[in-house]
Amino acid sequence: MITVTKVNKWFGKLHVLKDVSFNVAKGEVIVICGVSGSGKSTLIRCINGLEKIQGGTITVDSMNVHDPKTDINLVRKEVGMVFQSFNLFPHMTALENLTLGPREVRKMPKSQADQIGLELLARVGLADKAHSYPASLSGGQQQRVAIARALAMQPKVMLFDEPTSALDPEMIKEVLDVMIQLADDGMTMLVVTHEMGFARKVAHRIIFIDGGTIVEEAPPDAFFTEPTQERTKRFLEQILPV
């Protein structure tokens, strides 16, 4: 579903991604972890073209994302994204946030978009918040609306960039539960997160990235119990409770 091949990315002189390669099969859930500044956000932002790359190729559903001939909006139609800071549209209700994409991009009639939107809000447990504005929702509720907004486009892939990092601890679970359900439903997911419980439970593979390079890539069991790289061990010691 996603192929990332020898991707290189610079911010000016700063080499942020170095020869990064990996593949994601349909239905796979990949967790990406690493310390702050290691390039996790940049990597997933390259996948839907929010960042440009200077070397290598990325394909999504056989579309070459960074080929100038590719209509980037065709890629983005198929790739949902959830941000750390939710980024809901504050001047729209929850339901309007969900239906904007389907109506404008997929040219769906309002009645159909509303129906799908309401079903999705119910699925993330917010059926009663359809007509609420983001400012009146808690952080956890906002992030669930943001997930539903991305799902409303019926994407083939979902990208998550630290979706729970901006949340109060008591709200993290409600968001993770939605993501776990999504994974169980077979969604292809690429998740940047420090929630190792989530990684252990639903990830098919964990990618550890450091200094813009993939250091370790392994299924959760192997990743947590027998990491092969020194740097991975150090990282795990830092983030896992002893």
Partner: protein
């Protein structure tokens, strides 16, 4: 009272022209302001830089000079415009430049995450602007824009200097013919005030409302 009755029909002629200049100027400079603001904010190569030069020119030179250039210099390059068209073009280039900066400021002030979320959904640039960015930017844009409209209405009096008999010019002609100066110019002033003051109030109110919104956000 007699004076008032005598000068009113003449002033109305001038008012008619002033309103024409104001309304044409507003509509067109608004258009220029929004298109220019989007071009500047999106940093469209070349166009953005060229418009930037124009903005700098407008900011750094008197409005009257721009009017003179359009009316007296452009014909040397084969572009001959009538006095009224020159007046409107001058107003649009002048006010449009300021409105461009107002619109750009409003767009740039919208959180970057909004832009990214809209793009990530696959919205085109125009869809993103229309549904996500401008509705949020408009709160910032509206108060200074209303203020700019006031300046535009007042600036229409300057174009009398290329022979357009808008209301100020009419007032001047009337007094030169011996009409009572205080009454005549008093009526001219009242006209401008009635047009401009509501805009000033509107601008202030929007400003206050917006700053409250900022505080609570």
């Amino acid at each position: 009272m007699e004076v008032v009755l005598r000068v009113t029909p003449h002033l109305i002629q001038g008012i008619y022209l002033t309103l024409y200049l104001s309304i044409a100027g507003m509509v067109l400079s608004l258009l220029v302001g929004f298109i220019g603001g989007m071009i500047r904010s999106a940093r469209v190569p070349l166009l953005s830089a060229l418009w930037g030069v124009h903005v700098a020119f407008v900011r750094g030179t008197p409005f009257l000079l721009l009017i003179f250039i359009i009316y007296y210099v452009l014909p040397a390059f084969g572009l001959r415009l009538g006095a009224q068209s020159s007046g409107v073009l001058g107003l649009v280039l002048h006010e449009g430049a300021y409105m461009t900066e107002i619109v750009k400021g409003g767009i740039d002030a919208v959180d970057r995450g909004q832009d990214e979320a809209a793009k990530a959904l696959g919205l085109t640039y125009m869809q993103k602007m229309r549904h996500v960015i401008l509705p949020q930017a408009i709160r910032l844009i509206l108060p200074p824009l209303a203020g700019q409209f006031v300046l535009l209405v007042k600036a229409t009096s300057v174009v009398s200097l290329i022979g357009i008999t808008e209301v100020t010019r009419v007032g001047q002609q009337l007094t030169q013919r011996g009409e009572h100066t205080f009454v005549t110019f008093g009526m001219v002033a009242l006209f401008y005030f009635l047009i401009c003051y509501p805009l000033v109030r509107f601008s202030d109110q929007m400003e206050r409302k917006f700053s409250k919104w900022l505080e609570t956000a």
